[in-house]
Symmetry: C2
Subunit: 348 residues, 2 copies
DNA sequence: CTGAAAGCGCTTACAG
DNA sequence: CTGAAAGCGCTTACAG
């Protein structure tokens, strides 16, 4: 026993009457050990409750058997799903997962690349959604350096210029599809709430939004494009401001929220203004969070299969596959959307 | 540079023309280094972008600067909050956090205590809520062994018999208070949905439920006590079965769900049966998840201040405070509860 | 089939 | 104020 209370390979070797080399061989299932010796060693390992130190192994083998994953704040349950998927997959391969939320990475005294490098992780998955502008700058500066130390896989809507292995979100496709779905229901005043104006990881949504409107030969109305943070509270404020800034007859008949959190914020305000969903207002979110189907009314949304995505990112990381691939997605239509109210008569 | 692409202390020492001992001293801010030497070394560290290996430090110093946290599946956003709180606090003290969800711990080939011991974590926080019976058995068997290796802090409603440092949930107080609130509103048929019958970490809720009924001199009706898993789907099924098993005039006028997830499951069924909330049915959840205040109608719940709790658990772990303390909590009353319908006339 | 020895990248007495 | 040396607990050629 050492001072931490752990038995070491030396105790096992001594007790079994062999060298530490042999113990190490047994540990790794090498076939160059005689059955008798193997048995003896295994018995001692059990008896002493011996566990090889992952730390020492890390030093020797240059491997820590730990992956890192950088996600936006976990308060959006979406990211918990990605983590879950990544964790389960990592575990299958014998890896643990250390989780680093972006929220804290951007602290001034803090260099994410070095923080990760310091721990000699065997790889890192980075989700670049909803990246604060400061963090985006940090990321791009550090990514290059970070990649010297360990393999990296990105998740999100990543600019082509960033040539890293990526599971890519086709934001513009999603948005265009949603807009198409709404225009088919007769909607002409379609708001889009969420995102940051200068975010280079998010603007593809705007591209899809514009394309959808164009396809239906509808005007782009600046009042319907509201930027806000990706939280329910922010959605609430954004929605209120939009409604207040327009005469009711100019209110949108449909709102696309950047995610489900923002969507429930918008919905809360809609109710407060006496709008019925979907009769007066259709709402679509994104992420298909667990509460979406339990929402009243059930919320239309995009399912991005986050759990599977997390697992996939781990497989990509471990396999060293450097390609850029697209994430799966599916538009889920529920009762929160419906036909646009007759445009001739005013809402209410 | 070594083969991982990292510069080592040797490169720094050579470049600065000093011994590795001196570099180490500079790294640790020891004052026994001449200003001139210090400056030189610091310059080289910067120039070479040198970061000491946390792995090597772990081997030498017997410290890994990593804490572990074992939580139920993160799909309940509640646990994401605990993690966030723990993470932020840990980071302040220079620790990283490795997250281990219970869900996967109980796999047969898997021994949590040893898994953690193997990684030589500097401490571990274990949340024992919603523990599957298998996991509870595992936990108690391993906890003793685990504690030999590293300090442990428990979170949850922990039996007194388990003498570990604990942040304790007073489930029975919470429940009694909720029941009291409902009986004051005239409710006499109060259902309680969630939990497992044999769970020794959960049964204190039943104690409080019974105490609340007794205080109001109300009968305990077995049909109103439904056990189910802590998910929205499970709540949905449980609620449906309860309603189906009783003539409508025996339906409860209030439902206490074990958490907010279960609550929205119950609510969904209530709507489907044409029950209005709160006119026909009051609902209370637990956790005050972000969607509770955005629910339609806003959901009454217990706020358990999870973020702060996570931080507190880390402080407790690092300070070595071995006491048992109680978690803060607050009953949040929102529009999902109201006066019981007149017991004379039937619902509907 | 087995073992002695070097080395992974640090920290920490110990000596000067 | 500074450095040589031992040691943390493993793995991996190398030799036999």
């Amino acid at each position: 026993m050492n001072e931490t209370g752990n038995n070491t390979i030396y105790e096992v070797a001594k007790e079994a009457g062999v060298s530490i080399t042999t113990v190490s061989r047994v540990l790794h299932g090498k076939d160059t050990v005689s059955p008798k010796t193997r048995q003896k060693v295994e018995a001692v390992i059990k008896q002493l409750n011996y566990r090889p130190s992952a730390i020492a192994r890390g030093l020797t083998g240059q491997k820590t058997n730990t992956l890192g994953i950088i996600l936006p704040k976990l308060t959006n349950p979406n990211y918990a799903l990605i983590f879950n998927g990544a964790y389960e997959e990592a575990r299958k391969h014998g890896y643990a997962v250390s989780l680093f939320p972006w929220s804290s990475l951007s602290a001034e005294d803090y260099n994410p690349a070095l923080m990760l490098a310091e721990r000699r992780l065997d790889g890192v998955i980075i989700n670049v959604e909803y990246l604060a502008p400061e963090d985006a700058v940090l990321l791009e500066r550090e990514l290059k350096e970070l990649q010297q130390y360990m393999p990296v896989v990105l998740i999100g809507c990543v600019p082509q210029a960033l040539e890293y292995p990526t599971i890519n979100y086709k934001y513009s496709e999603w948005m265009q599809k949603i807009v198409g779905e709404l225009t088919a229901l007769g909607h002409e005043r379609i708001a889009f709430i969420g995102g940051t104006e200068e975010d280079r990881y998010d603007f593809r949504r705007d591209v899809g939004y514009a394309a959808g409107l164009k396809e239906a030969r509808l005007p782009f109305v600046g009042n319907y494009r509201i930027y806000c943070k990706a939280t329910a509270e922010a959605g609430e404020n954004a929605m209120r401001e939009m409604l207040e800034s327009l005469q009711p007859r100019y209110w949108p008949t449909a709102v696309i929220a950047i995610n489900d959190m923002v969507a429930i914020g918008c919905q809360k305000v809609a109710f407060r203004y006496g709008l019925r969903i979907p009769q007066d207002l259709s709402i679509v979110g994104c992420d298909n969070l667990f509460f979406a189907s339990f929402n009243n009314p059930p919320l239309s949304t995009v399912d991005t299969k986050q759990q599977e995505l997390g697992a996939r990112a781990v497989r990509k990381l471990l396999s060293g596959d450097g390609s850029r691939e697209n994430a799966e997605w599916e538009l889920i239509l529920r009762e929160s959307i419906g036909k646009a109210a007759d445009p001739v008569s005013d809402t209410e």
